[in-house]
Symmetry: C2
Subunit: 216 residues, 2 copies
């Protein structure tokens, strides 16, 4: 990563800005696929339905990504935001809980194209052990630590009931997992070195219901 | 809903506050289940690992929910936040796309306990039509409009590829759907009267990867 990006990192970047980075990345990926070479903040603003000033402010957190008058170089911007998001590195994942949701995630091949490789599934239910989902084997929880160590796993996806999630997350932290993508409906309590991203589906559905009630 | 809550609604409540409501609701549900009757903002603060001042500020958007010195009445607070979130009403849902993710959502019975009743599944693949998931039938897309009208459906869940999502979402808006829970990896473009809550799973995974790279 170049200096332009490293320097402004010293101040804390707001969660809101970080939360918008994947959306920029998604739009830039599409522009790149369509062969667009340059785009002004005004054009990007219209496309994404956010103000041009917000785009410039967001990008200024990371050094600005080039002159606004001339527009942004799409491929460069795509690459830089991808690097910020850690997409220039490969991640090796396991999914814990091979129920419907765990299998849905394991089947979603698009993650692989962004460098998120799902290497193993784990479950406690004996009757599904050994079964494969998209070639990925379902293994017993007893093999968790060995598999993580032997396959250089850095991310674990939790799709298990909340009653089990705390204990399993501590086990994962103990064996060096650096990131947990948590679908269990509970807040995990882990050392700061383990990053957690929650997907609380019920919370999201409640937000929809709030919006319908409030503004409907 | 009482006047205390209605009045402050006239000013706009920030997305961040709204985004925190489901988490308050979740903790209050647990406290209520445990038989806790009153809780101070300080105790709630410790439990939820947010500052007591943030809790008070958040609640003040909705009239405050009672005196802080004496603490909050758990059952009352649970009920009021539930009402804000529209959980005092029943919603009738359909899931469009009966793949792994659609079936996972249909199988998740916990939504029902919050008043989100999944009434139908839709798919284009002939080979799975008529199949049932937790008693819910998979129907062809041709029946969409008739089913929505005949079953008083207000929310549609989209778990279809992004290439189909725009057209399907317009069809849903045309037949009076008021809320869309969108798992398709694209921003929908609908009249303001249709509320959309996005769950972009790839975006969430990228945020995890960002955190791991940045602070790891």
């Amino acid at each position: 990563m170049n200096k332009k990006i490293q320097e402004p990192e010293e101040k804390e970047i707001s969660k809101a800005v970080i939360g918008r980075l994947p959306r920029y990345f998604r739009y830039l990926a599409e522009l790149k696929d369509e062969g667009v070479e340059r785009i002004s903040s005004m054009e990007l603003s219209q496309l994404m339905q956010v103000t041009a000033s917000q785009i410039r402010q967001d990008f200024n957190n990371f050094g600005g990504f080039g002159q606004q008058g001339y527009g942004y170089n799409v491929a460069y911007l795509y690459g830089e935001i991808g690097k910020l998001l850690g997409l220039d590195e490969t991640h090796r994942l396991i999914v814990i809980g091979a129920g419907n949701l765990g299998q849905a995630l394991a089947n979603y091949a698009n993650f692989e194209s962004r460098g998120f490789l799902i290497k193993g599934l784990f479950d406690t239910r004996k009757e599904i052990l050994g079964k494969k989902v998209r070639g990925i084997e379902i293994m017993p929880m007893e093999q968790l630590e060995t598999f993580i160590a032997g396959n250089d796993i850095d991310i674990a996806v939790l799709t298990i009931p909340k009653t089990e999630a705390l204990a399993v997350s501590k086990r994962l932290a103990d064996c060096g997992i650096r990131g947990i993508w948590n679908f269990a409906h509970i807040d995990l309590d882990l050392p700061k070195s383990v990053k957690v991203e929650d997907v609380h589906l019920s919370d999201s559905l409640m937000k929809l219901s709030y919006a319908m009630k409030r503004e409907g």
